[in-house]
Amino acid sequence: MKANVGRKRGKKMVVSFILFIVSLIVLIVELMPIMVVITSGFKRDIDIWVRGPFCFKPTLQSYKEVLSNTDFLMSLKNSLLVGVSSTVISIIVGAMASYGLTRYVFRFKEAIAYTFLGFRMVPQISLVIPLYVMFNYLRLRDTLTGIILAHVSFNIPYVIWLLLPFFAAVPRDYEEAARVDGATEKQIFWRVFFPLVSPGLVVASVFAFLMSWNEFLYALILTSVNARTAPVAVNGLLGQYAPKWGQLTAAGTIMLIPVFVITLSLQRYIIKGLISGGIKG
C-alpha cells in the first residue's frame, strides 16, 4: 500500500515537472519575436545585417537616430492625440448610448442595438474606400479631425458593446432611490451609473486607446504628411533605402512600451473585459 502511494506521488511529480518544462518552452518560443524587437533596437542598422542575429553589442545609436527624427516624433505625438481624443469621445458617447439601451424600454431598441453591434464588424478596407472619397470632399484628408473620426467609427460600437453588461448589471434599487430623491435623468446617469460601471469604463478606455494606438489602415490611406500616425511612420522606415532595422525596432519598442505597461498592469480588467461581452454568465 505504502509503495503504491509513493509511486502515485512520484508519478504526479514527474508529470508536474514535464508540464513545467512544456510551459516554459511555450513561453520562450512565444516571446522570442518580442525579444527580437527589443534587442534589435539596441543595435545599429548596419550591424543588424552585417553581424547576424546572435552578435549583440548594445548601443543606443538607433534610439538616438529615431528620437532625433522629427517626423517620427511628430507621428508619435499624433498617435497620442488621436488615441486620447478618440477614446474620450467614444467613452462619453458610448457610455451614454449603452446606458440608454439598457435602462429604458422603447421602440426600435433591439434594432438600434443590433445596428451598433453589427456595424462593429465592418471590414476596415470596405469602409476606407467611401471614407477616402468623403474626406476628400469635406477636406478632412490628412487632418487630425479626420483620423480621429475614423477611429471613433470602430471605438464607439466597441465601447457600447463592452459596457452593455456593466450597465445592465446595476440593480434597479439604485435608480429608484435616486429618482425618489428627485434626481433628473442626466444626474442619474452621471452621478449614479457612471461611477458604478467604472471597472467597465477602465476596460473600455484601455481597449479603445490600444485599438486606436495600433491602428494602421485608416492612417495609411487617410493621412499623408500632417496627420500621420506612428505605425505608418514606422513602416516608412523601410523604403527605398538600405533597411533601417535598428531604427525600426527601436521605434517599435518605444511604441510597445505603453502597450505592455497597460496590458500587464491591467490584465485582470482586460481579461474581464474581453469575456464580459463574450460569454454568458
Binding site: 523601410l238 523604403g239 533605402y241 538600405a242
Partner: protein, 291 residues
Amino acid sequence: MPINANVYVWLTRKDLINDPKYRTEFKAKYGYDLGVPKTFKELRDMAEFFYSKGIYGFAPFTKQTEGSTAEAIFMFESFGTSPLTVQGGKVVVSLDEKKAVEAINFYKELLKFSPPGALDMGHSERIAAFNQGKVFTMFQWPALVPQHEDPNNSLVAGKIIYSAPPVGPVKVAAIRGCWVLAMPIASKNKAAAAEFAYWWASYETGQKLIPKGFTPARSDLLLNPNYNKERPWFKAIFDSMRNAVARPRFTKYPEASQIIRNYWLAAISGKMSPEEAVRKMKDELSELVGK
C-alpha cells in the same frame, strides 16, 4: 523640363576588379582583363566568374512595380527592340519577337548569378545586398546612389566605380525617367510658375541643392570638377544621358506598363516560355493600343 537627372547608372566594385588574384584567374579563364563590364558579354562572363567565387555577379530588380518595366525595356532596347514606339502622337506596337526572346534568355542567365530572392527583389533588397558587399555589379537610380556611399549604412562606400550601362548587342540603353517640372495649360499664374522653373533649373540653385541630395540635370553641374571627387556618379549620369532611352509614355502607359511587366516577370521566372510571353505581351498591347 527635367526637375532632376534620373537615369540608369551602372555600379561596379572597384576593389574586386583591382584584386590581383581575381585579375590573374579571370584573365586565365576568359582571355581578357577584368574591368568595368563594357559589353553584355563581359557582364555575363564577369558575373559568372564572381559567382564561382562566392560573390553574386548581378542584382536584378523584379518587384511587381514600375522598376521591373524599366528593366524589361532596358533589356529589350539593348537587344534592339522596344514593345511600343510613340511616333508623332501615335502609339505603335513594335516588339520584335526574336530579339525580345534573346533579351529574356540573357536576363535569365544573369539571374543565375544573382542573390537569393532574385525573383522578388526591390530597392531595399538590392541596396542591402550591394551594401553588404555581396554583389559585384548592378544598375541604380541616381537618387539612391548616396545610400551606397554612406559609411553608416554601407560596407562598400568608396569602393564603387560609376559608369554608363554596358553595351547590349545593339546599343547602350540607359533607362531615363527624369521627374518633371511642368506647367498645366490651365495655370492661372504662368509667369510665376515659369520664374520658379527657371530658378529651380539654374546653376546657382543647383549648387545650393546638391549638398542636400539633389541630382542636377545640367551638364555644367554634372561635369563640374568641384563635385567629381565626392560624387563620382555625376559623370556617369552625364554619360548615361547621352545614351538614354525613354519608356514609351502615352495616356494609357500605366496599363501598358503592367502588361509588359507581367509577361516579362512570367518569362524570366520560368512560369511561361519566353516565346509565349512575348507573343501574349504583343497581343495584349495591341488590344490596349487599339482601344
